[in-house]
Amino acid sequence: MVMSLEARYEEFWRQSIKQLNEVVKATGLPIAPDEKGQYSLWYDVREMRLRFSISVERIKRFFEGLREGKVYTTRCKRCGRYYFPPQADCPYCKASDMDWVEVSGEGELLTYTIINTKPLTYSHYPDYVVAIARMREGFNVLAWLRVDDSRKVRVGMKVKLQVVKREPEGYLTYEFIPAEQ
């Protein structure tokens, strides 16, 4: 399933590398006109791929929660502050005594947008609604809002946070759905 995105991504680069090889073969140099055919560009023969590895060690509980179908936040035991996204430390108390609390999931939409021009790594999804909602507890969450018709979305509407599987990649994440249909 992950292949569909990879295939698109590979195709994008395969095309440009193919063109580059043809130019080198024909002219002896990786030099060709720019997109507008105006100026000469050297097309890089070295490729660097970027994929990062990010520590989740101290907030593992959050991801275990997703497996249980729950969205967790952390709350400082000393000052009671909620942290979403969850964080392991409370900089205000200079402490790391945190409770893991399940999010109520009830929120009210503060704002939203529809992403029409997508990043390449998101190009395999239909246009998606990204929303920010204020949760009952007082903190905000940013996530996709799952709706059949984006014209029905309104600032102030009630939404519910739920754990979902993001397809086609098949990994667990969270998104909003309208609370009342």
Partner: protein, 404 residues
């Protein structure tokens, strides 16, 4: 702290500059700045390079620029503050001179965004928020971040997409007569803007600034040197610097940028004015219009008018030349272009020329009454903010300009 003046400015042509390397593009601006100040490279004791990078090939741009422009072996550093990188460079050079570490310093902003294919650039800019929690799972784009503000603003204050298009039309009007602008010669109409495609609803293509290559430079000197070098030093009277949250979700509302408000508060305090009705102190301003909504929020974060009233300024044409407060007479990011690392230094160049009354053509020269100008440069979506205040006066507070 010593007073600091701008005595030389240079500006490369903004646009798709596939005819230049990073060094060559920077040189266009550096050469012009040196000529403007009638100084030589050996006079520059310290230089700082603003370059956000990522999309361009050079990993150590400051040294590459220094070598190409003949500034080596003087000390340097590369600074980054997202889209406010150019203002961060100016601030760094300002600190060097104000502190006495250097008598003459140069700030250079340069960016080459067309060294990567557009999809790569879109991807990079989309990651310029909080990467893990907002991009990795939810694929926000840069227009997407600002669209969250535009939706909230429209909902709260009853502004329309047409109102925002008026910002685009104004900035294209001035960009079309600025030979250094990316969209030199290109005016647009409200209708064209309204009919352009959505990139992140409610933001349309014509609400957005373009991908741009560009460079700009400014030479800053101490107070005792300023008058020896020029008859018209432009003093950097105040800089306000602030940050917002990386996570948009951690912000309480989406109708203004707190970082910009906080930076303005600091900047105004230092020159002894209240953060209210500030339009009356400044002859001209450059504000960060990466999207049309950003310009409207800037009017309010800067206290030109109250929250929610910014949209009236643009509706009534009050930010054109001759209005209450002329804004972005160079075309703004929208039409002059937005080469990330060069944008802030470009604003410094423009404010200096405006105060010197040397802007050509005269159609985009503001009328100078108080001799004070201001630039507002935001990094990310209110992640960073730099407010810089320029004046022809070395001392004192701004006077109130006559009401027209």
């Amino acid at each position: 702290m010593r007073e600091v003046a701008v005595v030389g400015v240079g500006h490369a042509k903004f646009g798709r500059r596939t005819d230049t390397t990073l060094g060559e593009l920077a040189w266009e601006a550096v050469k012009e700045a040196l000529e403007d100040a009638r100084l030589d490279q050996r006079d520059i004791q310290y230089f700082v390079v603003g370059n956000a990078g990522g999309w361009s090939a050079e990993s150590l741009p400051a040294v590459v620029v220094g070598e190409y422009c003949g500034l080596s072996p003087k000390g340097t550093m590369r600074v980054e503050a997202a889209c406010a990188t150019g203002s961060a460079a100016l601030y760094n050079a300002y600190l060097a001179v104000a502190s006495g570490m250097a008598d003459i310093a140069m700030a250079i902003g340069v960016e080459k965004m067309y060294e990567s294919p557009t999809p790569t650039v879109v991807e990079f800019i989309g990651r310029a928020g909080n990467y893990f929690w907002e991009f990795e799972n939810f694929g926000l784009t840069f227009p997407g971040y600002y669209a969250l503000y535009m939706t909230a603003y429209m909902n709260r204050f009853g502004a329309t997409e047409e109102d925002f298009c008026k910002v685009a039309v104004k900035n294209h009007h001035y960009g079309s007569i600025n030979p250094k602008a990316q969209f030199y010669g290109t005016k647009i109409t409200i209708d064209q803007c309204l009919k352009s495609r959505y990139v992140a609803w409610p933001i349309k293509l014509y609400d957005a600034s373009p991908i741009t290559d560009g460079a700009a430079a400014a030479i800053l000197v101490s107070e005792d040197l300023a008058r020896k070098i020029t008859d018209t030093p432009v003093w950097i009277r105040s800089v306000g610097v602030a940050t917002g949250t990386a996570n948009l979700s951690k912000r309480p509302d989406f109708i203004g940028l707190d970082a910009a408000y906080q930076a303005a508060e600091q900047a105004f305090k230092r020159i002894g004015i209240e953060h209210k009705d500030t339009w009356k102190y400044f002859d001209v301003a450059d504000v960060h219009d990466c999207f049309t909504i950003a310009e409207v929020m800037a009017y309010e974060d800067l206290g030109f008018v109250e929250r929610g009233m910014g949209i009236q300024l643009i509706r009534n044409g009050q930010t054109y030349k001759g209005g209450l407060i002329p804004v972005n007479l160079d075309g703004g990011l929208k039409a002059k272009g937005h080469p990330i690392g060069a944008t802030g230094t470009s604003m410094a160049v423009e404010m200096t020329k405006q105060l010197r009354q040397s802007v050509e053509p005269r159609d985009r020269q503001a009328d100078i009454y108080t001799g004070w100008a201001l630039s507002h440069n935001v990094g990310g979506t209110g992640h960073y903010a730099y407010i810089t205040i320029y004046s022809l006066d070395k001392d004192g507070s701004p006077k109130v300009k006559p009401r027209r």
